[in-house]
């Protein structure tokens, strides 16, 4: 490895680290905001105080998560220019514009309402508050829309021509609605919803297991688990669609995800075998060992019994992605998708048998424990999904058009290490803080006593009052 290879490698690690530590937070922001909106809407419509208490409780967790998301997200926007300067310059006309729209339509939009949502209880009318919550949910989904668009354009770059080192846009519609986006965006949004459902179910299960606030959290648990029955299979279906887009547009990436080396068997038949587990050999042109099921690969990727799937050996050596991480990360994600579906089915079965009633729910101890574990799994799926996606598209930063090595900034290895060490420290600190405060809010439990804000608007105080007037300190933290 030459020095410039080394510094390019560390720059890639730098970027991988900060995205990995940012993506922990946005999915919960997106999904939980939507759930908070529904709960608040039920409260406004039915006046049932349980909905209000659930809203306020999960909102505390939302705040912690949101703070961490902002802290790690501002970095992301600067990082493209710092670590991937030449890429940012070349792709700027499309990629930069899309991110620019994101900041305007999503972040600014969200920021205009988040304060109202968190601190506006009792200060603004119920209708206005519900409107604020809706807008937070909507804006964070919009941000997923734009970000995913930018990223999927890098995967399937349509509508551009590369001229004088710049990607010129020839067709906006084609660039925005690129093939990968049509599956990746819903897949990510549904991942966010699935993650949030599992999160809420896990927290609720923990309380019910400890027989605290059983009636309150039974409602949260029931709603989220029953929604999961629809969402979990939907996610699997979308994932399958996404996989076929990859098979079609990034054949080398798909071959790496499946550890698939030879297109044809030695006898000249299509190689249809799907590896359950495998390990690549030292030369990188086959596996040392593998457990293989025939026909499954063709079924998965071509939906036919004997379809051909191009193997890695069909690609020039310098266009083959690494295999081990995409291969195992992909399997981990798919396995999690399946497990979550089974958990949802289990819940449906218990519900049908009437075992999720307030009196009986706490006695399903293994089910509740499984739910707690399921709270962590989607996080792992999001990580492994992204690692699959980003590593299997190597060596390209813009697939087929620009190589990663031409996109990285000319940093010295020392500068790249400075960045890595600093962000390891600070992002682990944010992560540790988020864990610690999640645990603390959960241990403390919901607040069931403070008065529920009356409908209508309280006085907002005055901007400039004369010095003797006693102003109302109408300002408080949500906790």
């Amino acid at each position: 490895m030459t020095t410039s290879d080394l510094s390019a490698f560390i720059s890639r690690l730098d970027f991988a680290w900060i995205t990995t530590f940012h993506i922990i937070y946005p999915p919960l922001t997106i999904g939980l905001a939507a759930m908070l909106f529904i709960a608040e809407w039920r409260w406004v419509a039915t006046q049932d105080p349980y909905w209000y208490r659930l809203c306020r409780f999960f909102e505390k967790l939302f705040v912690v998560n949101f703070g961490a998301g902002v802290a790690t997200g501002v970095t992301m926007e600067m990082a493209f220019g710092i670590l991937y300067g030449p890429f940012s310059q070349a792709a700027g006309p499309f990629f930069g514009q899309v991110l620019g729209y994101e900041t305007i339509t999503a972040f600014m939009y969200e920021a205009g309402f988040i304060g109202l949502m968190l601190f506006g209880w009792g200060k603004i009318s119920r209708g206005m508050h519900l409107f604020a919550t809706f807008n937070v949910a909507f804006a964070s989904t919009l941000s997923a829309f734009w970000i995913l668009d930018a990223n999927s354009w890098m995967q399937t770059p349509g509508g551009v021509t590369l001229k004088d080192g710049v990607f010129q846009i020839s067709d906006w519609a084609k660039a925005i609605l690129n093939p990968d986006f049509l599956y990746a965006m819903p897949h990510m949004v549904v991942a966010s919803i699935e993650l949030s459902l599992c999160f809420v179910a896990a927290v609720s299960a923990w309380y019910i297991l400890g027989r605290r606030h059983v009636a309150l959290f039974r409602r949260a648990l029931l709603w989220s688990v029953l929604t999961l029955i629809v969402v979990a299979p939907l996610q699997i279906w979308l994932g399958d669609g996404l996989g076929r887009v990859v098979a079609h547009d990034q054949p080398a990436a798909l071959a790496a995800m499946e550890g698939h080396y030879n297109t044809l068997t030695p006898t000249g038949q299509p190689n249809t075998g799907w590896h359950v587990v495998a390990w690549p050999n030292a030369k990188g042109d086959g596996t040392v060992w593998a457990i293989t099921i025939p026909h499954v690969l063709s079924l998965l990727e071509t939906h036919s019994w004997n379809g051909t799937v191009p193997g890695l050996n069909d690609f020039p050596k310098d266009q083959r992605p690494p295999v081990v991480i995409p291969f195992y990360a992909f399997r981990a994600m798919v396995a999690i998708g399946g497990v979550l579906f089974l958990v949802a089915l289990w819940a449906a079965w218990l519900a049908v048998r009437g075992r999720l009633s307030v009196e009986r729910i706490a006695s399903n101890r293994w089910f509740l424990r499984a739910l707690i574990v399921s709270g962590f799994l989607p996080y792992l799926a999001v990580w492994t999904g992204w690692w699959t996606r980003e590593i299997a598209r190597q060596p390209w930063v813009v697939y087929g058009l620009m190589r990663t090595r031409d996109g990285v900034s000319h940093l010295s290895a020392a500068a790249a290490i400075f960045w890595l060490v600093g962000f390891m420290l600070f992002e682990l600190m944010v992560w540790g803080g988020a864990w610690y405060f999640f645990a603390k809010v959960i241990r403390r439990g919901p607040d069931l006593d403070s008065p529920i804000p009356a409908p209508g608007t309280e006085s907002l105080g005055h901007l400039e009052t004369d010095p003797d007037e006693d102003e109302e300190a109408g300002y408080f933290r949500p906790v």
């Binding site: 902002v70 700027g92 972040f107 304060g115 968190l118 500068a415 600070f426 109408g474 300002y475």
Partner: protein
């Protein structure tokens, strides 16, 4: 390298105005938060520190978003500048980002922290406010100096020159000047946000005077120093159009004098508004001095702009989203306008 059509030139110019407005709004809005954060380093009372943080809890995120917006506009419309200047400024920007991260955590999580951690978290908050401001100022000073680039025959020039090139006496000075200026803004913010009779208001009032003179001196020194080392600035200031700069200077001095009056009379909101008017005048003067450079001697607005700037996207953003967003941001500031007392930090 200028590949833009005439309409695109005008669009690049318009986006440049939008970029400048975002940067200025960021400095005005978050400057006060940062300054108040630095001032908490000098507050002995834990509840007062907590109250200062509570005073910005509802709005700091929206304020900081202007920085993100500026970044977004820069990336979207001036990608050639974004991709090279940010590489040049890697080290100060990384330090700013760590500061922003620490600040966000200290602010958002403080009310949950154990009392023994609170002291630590308060220090982290004050120091990260200080670090963010200082390195932000360093980055601005370094950008004013420009940077060297590659000269490819085809393709886009990009930064070469190492990670430490940003360091110079001038950039260190702008960092220090930013800290002093922002402390003045923070003092005015604290005075406006707290109820009359709160000890913290009087405490801060005692610093406003020295902070005021220090900030004034900082501006004078920065302007003088720039005139000495930046020919592009001196040419404009002492050229045939010198009277424009004279008028701006008088306007700035007038706004400053009104701000002093307002502070003395305890009209806190008026003081903040006059202060921000001064900042706006100085900012506009500085941006106009740089024109047509976006980064002096490195990128002009026109050479740095994306060849794809288009009327449609500009209109969409400016006529559609911008005004709506500004409206809601304003509404949010309005809802959280009431003054507070230090007791708020007790709320649990």
């Amino acid at each position: 390298m200028n590949t833009l059509t005439h309409t695109q030139d005008m669009l690049a110019f318009a986006w440049w105005i939008a970029l400048s407005v975002s940067v200025l709004l960021y400095i005005m809005l978050d400057g006060a938060d940062l300054g108040a954060g630095i001032l908490t380093l000098f507050l002995g009372d834990e509840d007062e520190r907590g109250a200062v943080m509570a005073a910005m809890a509802g709005t700091w995120d929206a304020n900081e978003t202007w920085l993100v917006v500026a970044g977004g506009v820069l990336f979207g419309t001036f990608p050639f500048v974004y991709g090279s200047a940010f590489t040049y400024l890697m080290v100060p920007l990384a330090l700013v980002l760590w500061g922003i991260m620490t600040r966000a955590v200290a602010l958002e999580f403080r009310h949950l922290a154990e009392p023994r951690w609170r002291r630590f978290s308060d220090w982290a908050f004050g120091l990260s406010s200080l670090g963010t401001t200082f390195f932000g100022g360093v980055a601005v000073g370094a950008a004013l100096k420009g940077f060297p680039m590659t000269h490819p025959a085809h393709g886009i020039p990009t930064y070469v020159g190492g990670a430490l090139r940003f360091l110079s006496p001038f950039s260190l000075w702008t960092g220090a000047a930013a800290v002093l200026a922002v402390m003045l803004a923070g003092g005015l913010f604290i005075r406006a946000r707290f109820k009359r009779g709160e000890p913290i208001r009087d405490h801060v009032a005692r610093w406003t005077d020295p902070a005021f003179y220090a900030a004034l001196a900082c501006v004078a020194i920065t302007v003088g120093w720039s005139a000495l080392i930046f020919p592009w600035a001196a040419q404009k200031w002492f050229g045939p159009q010198f009277w424009i700069w004279g008028v701006l200077l008088i306007a700035a001095l007038f706004a400053t004098a009104r701000m002093r009056r307002a502070t003395r009379d305890e009209r806190d909101l008026a003081a903040i508004l006059w202060f921000n008017l001064t900042v706006a005048i100085l900012g506009v003067a500085m941006i106009a001095t740089m024109y047509p450079w976006l980064v002096p001697n490195t990128w002009t607005i026109y050479s740095g702009a994306s060849p794809q700037v288009s009327m449609i996207t500009f209109t969409l953003a400016m006529a559609g989203f911008f005004p709506v967003m500004v409206m809601y941001n304003w509404y949010q500031l309005w809802v959280f306008r009431a003054r507070i007392s230090k007791l708020v930090s007790y709320h649990d």
